[in-house]
């Protein structure tokens, strides 16, 4: 084979700008036939933009695209699929009320008459060939997230995609499911398909990628072979500076700050969301809560914060039973809360940044005195946090709604961590943050721990949980499956427990 035919995708000096930002700045990218090429970078590095251009969702401002050596111009994803390019988006594009078959053939019926049986046969072929187990006649809403992703993969294969783009495919999966997907992807490449794998997890890129291209601020930093790559090299390329590993020393454990005994609670749909939850967190300790989202983590945080009533059980803060907890009482007792829904729970979009940063401290010195706001300390506090957390804004006195999502998150986290805390409930504190901000937030959390704060860390990022927590509790369908000492934690077992499988021993 000559050089030309071994390249399936060639993107040359791609430029794409959005109002105010240059998302792709002269990007060159190539994909070889039969390889898995990882595209890695922080949030806003331009990965998704580049791939949306390849998928025909966006038109580039400038640059050329060649598929198997042929120059192409896509006006829609349909154009892209006709040339064999298919994308599996982070948020699945499936219709829950339709069956698997209906979803797969939707928009690709071929003729006016639909033969479900023929389609089902074709789907089953794919299923058995690649181990993509699926019932073609099942309704999509019955399926787990992992199964839905399989439907998405089959959908692209059904459309004869030779080039697959996967946008952060593992973010919603359990470790077990991730293994499975990786196996399938490997098999697809052996048949000459090429895959672009977008991720921001370095370990994942190292595991699955043949080559890794790092993007930063809309530019290609470099493309390296798997053999030459290691974690440090890539993270350095991503952030532009060396990362310091967080040193989590075993802090002195103090008294129990938070204790839950046999707590039950309902979710918004009045369905039991917490079942018999018992756990405790001591001062100076980080208790990680691992689980696939939607297994009661949100309700757990809300029960502790006094935002949700518990139907049964007891809740102790600093050893005292709280009968009617409410957020204001909890805050008085030194509880901080980083909610997972920062846009609705943490900030008031029409308030200014400075105002949002004192939302929880409005009655305390030095921000107000005898009920009168003190503008200078408020301004100073805001400027300090904006500087420390690198929040991108022109002014502390700009409305928070003008900030980007990531910066709103930084703002709300900065506020919670700037309090004097005895207990911190941190729900996905680094979700959606870039590496530098993630690192900073983690350091701050460890700092709080060292200062004797008890921390309940809810996260889906197992790396984060393992590196920060002293103990890890696995939650599944509202029950605590097991609590591990961090050093003794077995990733495989955590994964199984997260999927609801209890090992018989």
């Amino acid at each position: 084979m000559d050089e030309e035919s071994r390249i399936s995708v060639l993107m040359k000096s791609i430029v794409k700008s959005f109002p105010g930002i240059l998302a792709n700045d002269n990007i060159d990218f190539d994909l070889r036939v039969g390889e898995i090429h990882c595209l890695i970078g922080e949030n806003g590095a331009g990965k998704s933009t580049l791939m949306n251009i390849l998928d025909g969702l966006y038109a580039p401002d400038d640059g050329e695209i060649f598929i198997y050596g042929k120059g192409v111009k896509f006006h829609s994803p349909r154009d892209a699929i006709n040339e064999g390019v298919g994308m599996i988006h982070q948020h699945f594009m499936l219709i829950p009320n339709l069956t698997v078959i209906e979803n797969i053939i939707l928009g690709f019926e071929g003729s006016k008459y639909i033969s479900l049986r023929k389609s089902a046969k074709k789907i089953s072929e794919f299923s058995s060939k690649y181990g993509l187990k699926i019932d073609p006649y099942a309704k999509v809403w019955h399926l787990s997230v992992g199964e839905q992703q399989r439907v998405e993969i089959i959908k692209t294969l059904y459309r004869n995609a030779k080039i697959l783009i996967l946008d952060e495919p593992t973010s919603v999966l359990t470790p077990e499911e991730v293994d499975n997907v990786f196996k399938i992807l490997k098999q697809l490449t052996t048949e000459g398909r090429s895959i672009i794998f977008i991720t921001h997890k370095i370990r994942e890129a190292l595991r699955i990628g043949d080559r890794i291209t790092v993007l930063r601020k809309g530019k290609v930093v470099g493309t390296i072979d798997k053999k030459e790559a290691d974690e440090n090299v890539i993270s350095e390329m991503m952030v532009g500076k060396k990362l310091t590993r967080i040193e989590v020393s075993k802090a002195e454990l103090g008294s129990k700050v938070l204790e839950l005994r046999n707590v039950y609670a309902l979710n918004d749909n009045k369905i039991l969301a917490l079942r018999d939850v018992s756990l405790d967190v001591r001062s100076g300790e980080i208790l990680g809560v691992a689980g696939v989202s939607g297994n009661g983590q949100k309700e757990l945080a809300e029960v502790i914060m006094g935002l949700r009533n518990r139907t049964k059980g007891e809740l102790f803060i600093n050893g005292t039973l709280t009968n009617k907890p409410s957020p204001d009482k909890m805050r008085e007792m030194g509880v901080g809360y980083i909610s997972e829904d920062r846009l609705n729970d943490s900030v008031i979009l029409n308030f200014t940044n400075a105002e949002n940063m004192i939302l929880d401290k409005i009655d305390s010195w030095p921000y107000s005195q005898r009920g009168i706001l003190k503008i200078n300390p408020i301004d100073k506090h805001a400027r300090e946090l904006i500087y420390a957390y690198d929040i991108q804004t022109d002014s502390p006195w700009k409305p928070t709604k003008t900030l980007s999502g990531g910066n709103i998150q930084k703002l709300s986290i900065s506020r919670e961590l700037s309090r004097k805390l005895k207990l911190l409930i941190a729900s996905h504190p680094t979700m959606g943050l870039d590496i530098a901000a993630t690192q900073y937030v983690r350091e701050k959390i460890v700092e709080k721990k060292k200062a004797g704060c008890a921390i309940l860390l809810i996260s889906e990022d197992l790396d984060e949980l393992l590196s920060l927590s002293d103990r890890i509790a696995v939650i599944y369908e509202g029950s605590i499956m097991r609590i591990f000492e961090s050093e003794k934690a077995d990733l495989k077992e955590i994964g199984l427990l997260m999927a609801g499988i209890k090992r018989m021993d």
């Binding site: 401002d61 204001d328 008031i348 939302l359 706001l373």
Partner: protein
């Protein structure tokens, strides 16, 4: 390029208001022409008569006062997420308490007036607090309860007007149903000789600034606004939301109650049927037009007061029916309230024009310069 674009489109609220006013006056002119009268003369009469003598200016500010006070109460309520539709009832309750205290107790004037004002604030606020408690504790929609309490207040005043406080108790035979008049010691002092302008006018002009300070420079105001904007985030941040609802509802009603006090002590001195004339409802429009901003509400009250006052001069000046004048007032207020719609529409027009221009520029520059640097 992007920044200049957004700056160009940013039409200030002021120019939009002027546009809305002009549009309203244009529609009003059509109405007057249909009524076979001269609109120019009508508008001239309206302005000239309102401002010709100090006495007439005094009449105008008297008209402005209840709108300014009740509008302010509504604005603070709406700001705090308490949708107070009950200013009408709160004005009545304030007025009733003013009348009762103004007739049945006897104190030296400064003290008498002060006591009545304080009690008026409390009764008006208390009337609104009923809805506040129902909202904060039981989650009952305040729009319904404040509105319903208006009817209760109206019939309560009816009871006092024809019953225990009727002029009949002095032995006089009433020509129409009215109450006794308050004592002289209870009356507001006049502030400008030769006019009827009274103490309430000063309060109406000053309180907006006090309330502005309260909302934007105090912790209490901060919390009121926080609860109004996003009660969930406020609650999570540790703000006691039900306490804030109670506070807001009380303050909102208290200011409306003060409007009632001011009408009794400053203008009417006694009560008759329908004495509130729907001020409470009009004040909702006053607050809305003022953008719920205390100072904006004051300006809006001045507009309403001038309009309603001036329209009566116009009616007499060019001799058109009172009903036509009512339609005219309605048209003008409607036009002012449509300002946000005008704004959106004009922006869209401007954008469209800009876009076609840009496309033209882009097309002509395609072969030459790159547009990205």
């Amino acid at each position: 390029m992007i920044t200049t674009k957004s700056r160009r489109i940013d039409l200030s609220g002021f120019s939009i208001s002027i546009f809305s006013l002009a549009f309203g006056l244009f529609m009003g002119a059509i109405l007057i022409i249909i009524a076979d009268r001269d609109p120019i003369l009508g508008y001239y009469t309206m302005v000239e008569s309102s401002l010709s003598t100090p006495q007439r200016i005094g009449e105008m500010v008297i008209k402005i006062t209840p709108f300014a006070l009740a509008g302010l109460g509504i604005a603070i309520g709406f700001k705090g997420g308490y949708w107070n539709i009950g200013a009408e009832g709160q004005i009545i309750i304030g007025a009733l308490s003013a009348l009762g205290l103004g007739y049945f107790i006897n104190l030296p004037q400064p003290l008498h007036v002060t006591v009545i004002m304080i009690v008026g604030l409390i009764t008006g606020g208390g009337w609104s607090l009923i809805s506040g408690i129902l909202k904060a504790k039981l989650g009952v929609n305040e729009v319904l309860t404040t509105l319903m309490l208006n009817y209760v207040a109206v019939w309560l005043s009816e009871y006092f007007i024809v019953g225990p406080w009727s002029i009949a108790i002095t032995g006089e035979t009433p020509v129409f149903a009215r109450t006794v008049a308050i004592l002289d010691s209870a009356k507001f002092p006049k502030i400008f000789p030769g006019t009827r302008a009274h103490l309430g006018v000063i309060m109406a002009m000053l309180l907006p600034f006090v309330i502005y300070y309260l909302l934007h420079r105090t912790a209490l105001g901060f919390k009121i606004r926080a609860v109004g904007e996003n009660p969930r985030a406020a609650r999570i941040a540790g703000i006691n939301v039900s306490k804030m609802i109670l506070t807001t509802s009380f303050m909102s009603g208290a200011l409306a109650g003060l409007a009632g006090v001011s009408e009794v002590l400053g203008v009417h001195f006694f009560l008759e049927r329908g004495f509130v004339e729907g001020y409470g409802y009009t004040s909702i429009a006053v607050a809305t037009l003022g953008g719920l901003h205390p100072i904006g509400t004051l300006l809006s009250a001045i507009f309403f007061g001038f309009l309603i006052n001036g329209a009566s001069y116009m009616q007499r000046g060019i001799n058109i029916p009172a009903t036509t004048v009512q339609v005219f007032i309605g048209l003008l207020i409607l036009s002012m309230l449509m300002a946000p719609i005008f704004k959106k529409y004009i922006i869209r027009l401007v954008m469209k024009e800009k876009r076609t221009k840009e496309i033209r520029i882009e097309q002509s520059g395609k072969n030459g310069l790159s547009i990205h640097n």
